[in-house]
Amino acid sequence: MLEYDEFRLLLGLDPASGGRNWTIEVREAPVEEFVGIKGTVTPQFTNEQLVRLRTASGWANRILLKEIGDSVWKSLSDPNVDAILLACLKQAKNNGRGLRIVVATADHDRFARDENAIRLSELPIEAIWREPWNFFAPSISTPVSRSLQVKADVDPAELTLPLRVLVVIASPNGLPKADIVKEGKFIETAFKPLVDSGAVVLDILSGATALVLKQHLEKQYHVVHFLAHGGFDVVGNDPSARAYISLQTDEGDVAPLDGEVLDLLLRDTDVRLVVLSACSSAAPTPEATPPEKRPYRIGAFDGIAQRLIAPISAVRAVVGMQFDMESDASIAFNGAFYRKMLERGIPLDAVVAHARLAVIVKMDVGHRAWVTPTLYSRCRDGILFDIKEIRNNLDDETRKSIVELDSKIAENRSILEELARHTDEYSMALRSLRDEYRSKIEELTERKNQLLGNSIRLWGGRAKPGEVVSCRLTLRLRSPAAVRNIKLVLMFPPKAVVFKGHRSEAHGEKMTVNMRGLNGMLQVSIRDVSHGDQWDRNEYDLAVFDFEVGARTSDPIVTVRVSDIAVDMSPAMTVSNLDGVIFVADSARRARQLANAEAQVAKALPVSWPGILKDSLALTIRSFVKDFLG
């Protein structure tokens, strides 16, 4: 599988030019020296080119699209940045790696006062073309995506298959119906093999009203795909026109759903990806726009994607369409997109690149259709889901309860982390409060365990820095089964805890536990678990893993993740996983004490001493300080 480097450009408005020029900064690059502010550029991409792209007719046109792609790249780069990108591409290629190109914008479009200026979000970065590399975005080795963050800030979300997808179809009165219904059918067809294999659960909600959508979302989906018209207008009583998705009223009329409300509907859900597609946008096309209002400046879903990946949203990535998407292109895109998305470890932008390629095969490389999809993401390394091999067959109600519990656990963890940041002056007062929140988390975790059905759980514990905590690994069976082999992976932050050893037993009998791996990851394989017996409904000890909490650990909570579990049992049943949580008492205070003590020691050592002598002495003193504090 291809691995990637990241090349992240940050675009901003240059204040000195009133926003007409843009500032460029390389935020991430495989070579550290390339990172930094690079200066300003005058956008070469023009309004005329934008209007042309927004015009449905006259495609494919390879020469024109390359010209546009060239202008786009020149709007993002000066000769320095150009040289940097080429060097990064070359290095990535030589190392057999891909290069993810991410363009982040840090300024709000509204701040540009010049009506004729191209807005940052209007630049179709997906069209970047650079001789001799050709177009970047449709290549899986150089995927192109957008971001609103100067750095990616969320880790992959755990996904236990099946992937649950809700397709929302709305075609209100007065807006074109045919294409949306047709596309809905095609999406269903594209999903069929995945649904048949059990990898995807697909629900289609037709004629969606906002209330029905809200009720559906309680069933906990991972992906919501809107097949609806978009618009940009005054919504209800709101005078500031905004982007919206056209849902329906009970009578079938247009019911606009704007980004803010959609964001709230998706909060506290499992939805991490939103796809916004419309085969015919409700936004005015250039041809339909009165001359005095040309060039048209508003994309149908403009602003919704941005709102949905704001820092407090649950959603981590949005695929949107910057121009009207042709039906055939849309079908090709969606089919390829979802098939690829379920492959493990592929960045979402590479998935989109793969889907762009499918559009090119269908339409032509000179067609604007493959440029149309945009990906906004805030995922670290572009990875949206950490896909588990196991399948989850929990019912809707249980899944909903688990999501609610997860939300409460996260809230309490956040409070505990906040409490841990406090210094000695509050420590006595807060001790009872910390205990209270630890107990709450343990209680909520146990409730979750009760809901999970069959589960493999790593039990955590409480310890101080420097102490060893023994974590039990258990298997909980809800119905009798003979368990042959179990494989799983334990992942932990190596700076926070150190694996010290393991013991294995079940009902007093030794089991064969093989382990390998280092640096925060242990691959565990347990063979002949029930020794051929059928185990009754109960919870069984499998093994005990000892972890020493690092003396410098400042985190109040350390999670040892249980992942990639595979349970060979008869009868075959699904098994969920539950991570181990180690509560570290007084972590922040002790880490601070240690750091201060070491700083004092370092200061006291004569400057003239050789480095090796100082290091050796520092090590001894550190060990002494650690023992003393412990």
Binding site: L13, A16, T105, D107, K214, P239, S240, R297, A310, Y426
Partner: protein, 415 residues
Amino acid sequence: MDAYRDIVWDFLPDQVSASATGDANASFRLRVFDSEMALFGATPDSAPTMEYSVRLRLDFGALYQDMSNGPAGGFSDPRPLMEIGRSLWHDLPHKVTSRLQDTGVLEKSNTRLKVVSDEYRVNDLPWEWLSDGDEYPVLVRSVPVLAPTPPLSVKTPLKLLLVDATPQGANVLTRRSEFQTIALSLPVDKIRLERLTGATAEAVYRALREYQPHILHYVGRASAGWGGASISLLEESGTPHWFSAAELASALPLSVRLVCLSSCFLGQYQGLTTSAFSRFAYAPAEFKIPTVIYNQYELSEKGIESFWRAYYETFVASGADVTKAYVTAQRATGGADRGALGLVIRDGCDRPFRFDEEGDFDERLVTELRAQFAARSVNKLAEKVRVLGTLASESERRNLLEEYGRASEILKRLM
């Protein structure tokens, strides 16, 4: 201690002829309430006492810009700003403004006008200049919450972390460093100062963690984008490192209950019309950022000194009354500088601190923090129910009531 009697003006969008890109004027629905809680339908009588359609002029950003392009060091002539204030007053229905006069909000400091809106265009208006031509009301801005956060018990001196992240070569606000001016304005016996210059994100995290300040006073620049507003900290190289409201919220320890954002902001540059500090101050209530005082436009060096000296002195002397300190500072500043800073109360709390010099307040502190967490939980739910309106389910409403009941119980223990 005086409790404030509030008059709340809530501006909602109304039908309007404005285009997508915005006109110079827009219509809003103005609802007047007697308390912020009524906005959430939480009081027995949650109906507004008055409701009107008003049309407001919105192009004051351009005025700021024109003024910013003038001589450095703030605006010398307050008359254009006073004119804006009178114009705002006259744009409002007579019954609304006369109620202010009738209830004495213009005279008595314990009656306070709170301006509330989700609309950034309303929030960008220079409400601090609102006036009948003779007097100014006691006016604050607010990000409304249903459950207030109780004051935090502290012993003086209060701890203030002064962070200077002005990038090299930036157009700093005054000829003398604003940082120095603020430092010299503090009542040193009541407020202990820790300075952090050339602040990197890591240094700020460390200082917040180790110093556990009660007040964070930031001097630097801000920017706003789709991803939200950010203040600028520095990279090791001295270049800006944008630090979002969400990042700050997660970095702030529980001890920080007041954030002051001052100095140069993007609004002073030609062509950019709005203050990013305002976006920061109005970050969603869910962000754990407490009450914020922020620059709206440039002020003079003397103004900075007068404002912050009066502010911090009154803040300590009045038992951490943010409004009283703010109004006193405005009066002490005068001239065009008078309305340069806005106060956004974000936690429903009039006094973020409770000075307790004698007591061993460990037990009380636990209850205060428990109340703070409970309030957060309630306010998150309340905001969801408020924005969803009719889409909010019965169970969400029920859940809100239960959480609210729990939070109220904890608050009662502190009374």
